[in-house]
Amino acid sequence: MMKTTIKLMAFLAAGAFLASCGGGGQNQSQSQSSGALNNSSAAEAVYVAPGEHDEFYEFFSGGFSGQVSVVGLPSGRMFRRIPVFSVDAEKGYGFDEETKAMLETSHGSIPWDDSHHPKLSQTNGEIDGRWLFINANNTPRIARIDLTTFETVEIIEIPHSAGNHSSPYLTMNTEYLVAGTRFSVPIPQQDVSIETYKENFHGTLSFISVDQEDGDMEMAFQIMVPGFDYDLAASGKGPSHGWTFFTTYNTEKGSTMKEATASQNDKDFIAAVNWKKAEEYLAQGNFKEWDAEYYNNEVDHNSGIATSKVGDKVKVLFPADCPGLIYYLPTPKSPHGVDVNPTGEYIVGCGKLSADLTVHSFSKMEAAIAAESFETTIEGIPVLKYDEVVTGVVKSGGLGPLHTEFDGDGNAYTSFFISSEVVKWNVGTWEVIDRVPSYYSIGHLSIPGGGSMKPWRKYLVSLNKITKDRYLPTGPELAHSAQLYDITGDKMRLLLDFPTDGEPHYAQGCPADLIKPNTKKFYKLSENTHPYAVKSEEDARVEREGDEVHVYMSSIRSHFAPDNIEGVKVGDKVYWHVTNLEQDWDTPHGFAVLGAQNSETLIMPGATRTLYWEPKVPGVFPFYCTDFCSALHQEMQGYVRVSAAGSDVELRSWLGEQD
């Protein structure tokens, strides 16, 4: 007994010695003091043996890349980058004739955006693994990704909006996606002085309905609101189902030097919207129909062709005409994130200039509304009394709280940007239980299901902006990062640190079993309704329509049909319609032709993709498969002969020796 105690003390002393030798570098002292044993158990916790699968899918937004990346947890391995609001010359998304329309907006084709918040669809407040939605901040849009194909299948533009940040934050049965304006603007747009902000600028809170069968998005209605900045959102669940909460800042309505002007008020608001009440007002016809122009682009599953519908009207609700539709909950210090706990009772606001978190109670809010405990009214919106709705304050000891997720066992986890840490606290006592550093400047954090009614308490991912000394340097621009923590115990434990693609603002995950069994292996050729598809090599051909040349081409291991083409002329508009005849998993074929000014294409088995090509000079040009499809991939090539404009070379094509 005595011996053991002495040993233990010696160990502790050694630990302290090592920590003091660390020279102040947080990593150094950590790796030296935690010892080899702890490190190896962390390694075991994240090790996914070759050939084995990760337990969770985690979907990261790409931020300024406009994309989504698909990562496995706990390994941190990235499996796919899905182009969403961005052209992708690797696969041809946004370049090929089929998907070009996906990026159309009322401002023309917008080949880029800033994608922020991936949200997995839910049924009864639980993640159902059907779709992933994500917002575009810059040119306001929401996209839907089909989780059987991991492809972007629909994008809807949000009219009367700017800075679509508080989006898509869906409701608990995916009835609606939401979209609030982070940047208020003149609505409808008009040419006015920016100095008239206070009179002429407004925000909108938009609700986009989702078809429960096929996921189709439709612009349901908008609410015209004061010209604040609507930053983030969370939809209610359980008792608070039917409500969506939006944070606001800049209730000062500053329009210049906002970093100072928008930080004057001691409290801004969380806007609580009763969307079921909105449905009643819509049914009563208590709305205005305003002109608008917004695109809704959707891929037809069988042809793979995206088409655009252009909306020209939107239903607008005005709070002054719709009592009970919206209330403001005073919340300190320019709140950023708002999150609702799994029971649906608590609404957590993170004042980003504060050390504390503000927790409002949904039931107290309902009582305050019933008692009409209003401080004041702003443009028809009652402001509830702070003391009547607040139920707890988390004295965190950190600085710059941003976002909160939950583990389903009564614990909440909040990211702190300025103090660069994750703080775990108890929902109910509001006491801090644990805190761990993040490296560095954490933004969002994510627990699989952590924003839903059913979190899976195992891992927490922090999404970090700054990585200065964390990885091998790559010049001025460094990778953003994710850190994986084990949250099964009382104390959080850092397991893994991995770089991310783009700037992931948020990520959402769920157990792999919700998605994996539904994955589509190939498109059925028999269901391909593309007008230029060829179902067998016998149908492969070349046709001329004026100066358009349509190549009806097939690809299969390891050749194109046809692979020799003559009779194309300079000035022709050539459409390469390539159908991949494979009916087998993991067998895409690529297509590229010399001088193509747009992209290559990657054609999934059973699908048809069209690449446009304009030959500029006479000659013979090769085309080839860009995906190493088989042992004879290098042989998968062909030639197109281009003759001078006006030449009389006959249009013909062939494959194999001609008899």
């Binding site: 292996k521 291991r557 494979e582 087998d584 998993w585 067998t587």
Partner: protein, 191 residues
């Protein structure tokens, strides 16, 4: 539909056990301990993927044929199944069971012995040509390079197409190539 290949597989597994004498720790030619029958099961790796909707690959075509149990057993013993399930493309000349039966007595049993794995591998590779050659692509007099490193001759006779003297009885297109069913085992030249 789904159960048929599994039944065939079980039969072959039993056959393989019989061939290796049931001794699960036999050493192979390279001195490594051979895996147990369970570990060699087709249920792992990409040859184990049977989703019921993809076009069958060459291995699955062979597994689904009651006439090719000996060939499948030989491919398994020579550890050539991955190549038959991989991307290809391969043209495989698949002798029916009767063709193996026609070999001198004891030939198959001898070839299936672990110490003859290299010979067996060479014989199997003699039946596989890289590329997808449909019957129409096989021309009289054509010399076809096969995976063992040899070239075999194509003959187009009045009654059909022959490769290395074996007659093509039928053709099945697979996802990763083509299977031509032949009436004889193709034996490489000595040495």
């Amino acid at each position: 539909m789904m159960t048929k290949p599994i039944l065939v597989l079980m039969t072959i597994s039993l056959l393989a056990v019989g061939c290796s004498g049931g001794d699960q720790t036999n050493d192979d030619a390279s001195g490594n301990a051979t895996a147990t029958v369970e570990e060699q099961d087709f249920g792992s790796g990409q040859e184990g993927i049977n989703d019921g909707e993809s076009t069958p690959n060459i291995l699955q075509v062979a597994l689904g044929s009651a006439d090719h149990t000996t060939l499948v057993a030989a491919c398994k013993a020579a550890e050539q199944t991955t190549a038959l399930a991989n991307n290809g493309p391969l043209t495989v000349f698949a002798p029916v069971n009767a063709a193996f039966d026609a070999l001198p007595e004891g030939t198959v049993e001898t070839l299936l012995k672990p110490e003859n794995k290299m010979t067996l591998t060479s014989i199997i590779q003699f039946h596989a040509a890289p590329g997808s050659y449909d019957v129409d692509d096989l021309k009289d007099g054509q010399s076809l390079f096969v995976a063992s490193g040899h070239n075999i001759k194509v003959e187009v006779r009045d009654d059909g197409t022959y490769v290395h003297g074996a007659k093509i009885l039928g053709t099945v297109k697979a996802a990763n190539g083509i299977v031509h069913v032949v009436d004889a085992v193709l034996l490489p030249p000595e040495g």
